[in-house]
Structure formats: C-alpha cells, structure tokens
C-alpha cells in the first residue's frame, strides 16, 4: 500500500482509533467514554476499509456501533445508582505494567519477525466469497454461532426478566 491516499488514511484512522481509545481510558464520565469508544470502533471500521475488507467494515459498524454500544449505553442508563464514574481500582499500577509489557512484547515480536509477506493487493469483492465460505466450508461454526446467539438471547432475557412477572 504505497499510494498517498492509503498512507494518509492509515495514519489518520490510526490516530483516531488510538486517540479515542486512550480517551476512553482517561475520561471520567462513562457515557462520554462510550461515545468515544464508538469513535474508536468507527476508526477500526475505517482501518478495515484500508485493508479492503468492506464487508467486515460494514458489519463492524452495524454490530459494534449500532448494537453493542447501544447495549452499553442502556446498561449505564438502567443502573443509575451505580454511579457513572469510570475510575480505576487498585489494579491501576499492575494494569499499566501488564498492558505496557504486552504492547512492548507484541510490537517487538512483530517488528522482529520476518513476515515474508507476498504483496497480493486488496480483494475485489469479499461479501460473496465470505457468504460462500460461511455456508460451505464453515457451515458447522456458522450453525454453532447461530445457536450461541439464540442461547445468549434466551439467557439475557431470562437473567433480566423480573421474577414473578409474566409477559401478557
């Protein structure tokens, strides 16, 4: 990826993603943190597009931005007395150490390794190929994911359903 557009796009999106991720850590107010997290998700979706993964990018927007963040907002709103403070526990220092170590190690390894990449260019179209793969090669995981989603949905409903009330 050597054209100017890709390079500019990568750096901009990387800055957006990491910047808002850092802001999520630092900001105190939980609602604002979720809003920034959404920005971060959108940045990741943009990065997917630079990697010519259009289907995954759109799915990222649909699921992470449209669904999971809304769920989080709901959870924050439905727990009003829990406080909206996004503060750290006493794990702060070990957390920083561990995370720093992790970042350092992975970065070092990825820089150190010879990835022997073959430049193959981006994909022409991913959606149909992914669809075929899902329903052909990966049909069992696909079905399992469906079952998992169903189980998760039922579980979530059962968990939050107030005891002693019935749907009319």
């Amino acid at each position: 990826m050597e054209d100017t557009g890709s390079i500019v796009a990568f750096w901009l999106l990387a800055a957006l993603t990491l910047g808002s991720a850092l802001a999520v850590v630092l900001i105190r107010d939980l609602i604002r943190a979720v809003v920034l997290l959404i920005t971060s998700f959108l940045g990741v979706a943009g990065l997917y597009i630079t990697l010519s993964a259009d289907f995954v990018a759109v799915v990222q927007v649909l699921i992470y931005v449209g669904a999971i963040s809304v769920l989080m907002l709901f959870a924050i709103m439905l727990t009003p007395r829990a406080g909206r403070n996004n503060a750290e526990t006493f794990f702060r220092i070990p957390g920083i150490l561990l995370a720093g170590l992790m970042a350092f190690t992975i970065s070092l390894v990825s820089l150190d390794t010879d990835w022997a990449v073959v430049e193959r260019g981006g994909f022409e179209e991913t959606a149909s190929a992914i669809g075929e793969a899902l329903l052909d090669k990966y049909v069992l995981p696909f079905e399992l994911a469906a079952v998992l989603l169903l189980v998760a949905m039922l579980g979530a409903i059962l968990l939050v359903h107030p005891e002693g009330t019935d749907e009319e």
Binding site: L78, P80, R81, V160, H161, P162, T165, E167
Partner: protein
C-alpha cells in the same frame, strides 16, 4: 418493556401540550408504566364562587360563561334555572325552546372539541381537531347571530333569554342541520372505525359502573360505563320532556366507549335540533318583556337586578360534560349568599388516579383526553 428501572417522577403539566390547559399530573413512572399519579389542580383558580357573592344575580351570569368556557351556553342555563327555581319564575315557551336549541348546539360544539382533542391525544397531528373546528365555527356563527358573542355568550337571562334570534337564524340552522349528518358519517367512518384509535383506546381506563357511580360521575363518563343516566331524561328541564331522543351508552366502560358516547350524542343533538326547528313556537322570549321583540336597535333589555326571596335552590342540567349544578342560597339580598358550582369536570377527575395507575404514559394521556376536562371548570 419489562426491564426494571428506577421509579422516576414526571410532571405532565401544568405547561404541556395535552393537559388541555393548566392541569398537572405528577406521574411516578417505572419505565413507561405509571405506578403512582397525583393530580394537581388550582392553576386557573379565579375564586368565582366567592366573587359571585358580591355581585347581583344578573351580574353573575357572565361568570357562568367563564367556568366552562368550551360550553358557555349550558353554564348560563344551569345558573338561570337555579335562580328561576328560587324565584319561581317561569320563562315563556319560546325562551325554553331557544334554550334547548342553544344548549344542544353547544353540546355539539363542545363534543366536537372533545372528540377532536381526544383524537389529538391519540396522536393525530391536529387533523380531526381542525375538521371539528370547521363545524364548531359554524355553530359559533349561529351564537354570534343570536347574542353577538361567540365564546362567552351570556345569552340566558333569569326569566328567559337576552333577545330573540334574528330571522336569518332559522335558515342558517336549517342549512347547518342538513350538513351535519354527512359530517357525522365522515367522523364515524374516520375516527370511530380507525384501527389505531381502536387499538389505542379500547380496554384502556376501564371504569365499572359501580366505580363510576361511587365516584358520582355523570355525563359521557357515566354513560360510557354503561349506565343509562341523563338529566335531560331523569329530571327534564326546559322542554326536554317534549322531545324525543335516546340515551347513548357504552358497554365496556373504556376510553373508547366514552369517545363513542360523545359521537353518538352529537347525532342525538342533531335529532333534537331537528325537532326544535319544527316545534318551536313564536312568542316572547322573556317573562318580564312581553312583546316579541324586534332586533337590536329598539330591543328592551332584561332588568339588571332582581329581588330573590330568601331560600335555596339547586338547578341542574346535563351539560356536555355531565351534571352541571348550581346551588344558590339567598338571604333575600341583592347578591347570592352562597354560590356553589357542582362542576362535572372536577368530579369526573375523581377516578383518574385509579385509572392511570398501571397504565403507560401514553395511555394516561388518552384517559385524560377521554375524561374531557375543562380546566376553567375544575378550578372555577
């Protein structure tokens, strides 16, 4: 939603698009469900009952315009009936007929407001209200013809009405009556049969007849619960005993039935007005002014003060909202000793708390709309 949330308090009103004035509902909500409701009234209190004790009997008539400002004619009528009962005055025949015409026109106008606003509360974007206003305007034109005012009519007088209707009144009313049944058909098709209004109001705010009677409700509220009760039949005043009409009752006692009863009563009003046009006699319109009067220029006016013997009287009529009664105590002086209004809007609010609890916010608005309050009458 069945998700459990913290209860929180919402003030619907006093400034709110659908509290029909300055009425306030303090709702405690669990999500969208109402778990407690508090009615706060008094934002439009003008101390009418006390003020009336300082003014002569005739001077008090304009007050009755302003209690229920959506139905001023019936307010006038109930008051003058009470005073006439106290004095033993019998108004001339034609005056009684005019009173019936005016109160039925008023009933139609008031019910069309109630129906339109109810549809608004169900969420139509002003359309039924505007259409209802079209008919109401024509009725107000008739009022203007008869007494010069449109909203606060001040038409009834103790002993009759302020003046006879002009000659063009009759053809105008005739024209209106020819038009109204068609409009009513339209409203019944578009509102009564409307799927969404049915879905929104059926089974909402169910009042059983027992509760309705125990809360001493009256008017469409009571009839919506299936109790066939109408002062015009039970205690006929003016010339209602000579007229033929039906009591319209609902069968489920829900918001839809109250709405339904109002629409049906509008048809009955048309029926009554038809009979009035046929049967109304000529003659004087005030007991103390014997000549059948000509028009404004040379018209003698009714006396401004009257002597009322000591005693008490209760005059009641079927106003568009229910039993409107005036309880007058006189000590023989120029002003009433006690002037009490039994206002139907106020009493019809009694069951609102019970109806609202367990409903959703949207339902509460529909229920309030089906009660058809006029804040001026609640607070007086």
């Amino acid at each position: 939603m069945s998700m459990k949330t913290e209860p929180f308090v919402v003030n619907i009103g006093p400034q709110h698009p659908s509290t029909h004035g300055v009425f306030r509902m303090r709702l405690t909500l669990d999500g969208e469900r109402i778990i407690d409701a508090d009615m706060v009234i008094g934002y439009l209190h003008r101390s009418m009952e006390k003020l009336a004790e300082e003014r002569s009997y005739t001077q008090n008539i304009p007050f009755t315009d302003r209690t229920d400002y959506v139905a001023a004619m019936t307010g006038n009528l109930a008051y003058v009936l009470a005073v006439e009962k106290l004095c033993g005055i019998e108004p001339p025949e034609r005056a009684s007929w005019l009173r019936v015409i005016m109160s039925e026109l008023q009933r139609f106008a008031s019910h069309s407001m109630a129906v339109g606003v109810f549809a608004n509360d169900c969420g139509t974007w002003q359309t039924p209200v505007m259409h209802m206003f079209r008919e109401r305007e024509k009725i107000l034109d008739l009022f203007e013809m008869a007494c010069g005012a449109r909203l606060t009519t001040n038409y009834m007088r103790i002993g009759g009405v302020s003046r006879d209707v002009p000659p063009e009144f009759r053809p105008a009313l005739r024209k209106l009556l020819d038009e109204l049944p068609m409009r009513m058909g339209e409203y019944e098709d578009l509102l009564l049969e409307n799927e969404i209004i049915v879905a929104r109001s059926r089974g909402i705010g169910v009042l059983t007849p027992e509760v309705a009677i125990n809360c001493s409700l009256s008017g469409p509220m009571l009839r919506g619960s299936g109790v066939a009760w109408d002062i015009r039949k039970a205690d006929p005043y003016c010339v209602y005993d000579k007229l033929e009409f039906d009591i319209c009752v609902g069968t489920d006692g829900d918001a839809y039935d109250r709405f339904l009863v109002r629409l049906a009563e509008m048809r009955q009003s048309i029926h009554i007005l038809e009979q009035c046009l046929e049967m109304m006699p000529e003659g004087p319109v005030h007991s103390q002014i014997t000549t059948a009067t000509a028009q404004p220029g040379g018209q003698p006016s009714a006396p401004l003060t009257i002597r009322v013997p000591a005693g008490e009287a209760y005059g009641r009529i079927e106003s568009p909202r229910g039993e409107l009664g005036f309880y007058i105590v006189s000590d023989g002086g120029p002003a009433p000793y006690r002037f009490h209004i039994r206002s139907p809007s106020y009493i019809n609010l009694t069951p609102l708390r019970e109806l609202a609890i367990g409903a959703t916010v949207a339902d509460a608005i529909v229920i309030l709309g089906s009660i058809d309050i006029v804040v001026g009458e609640i607070d007086r």
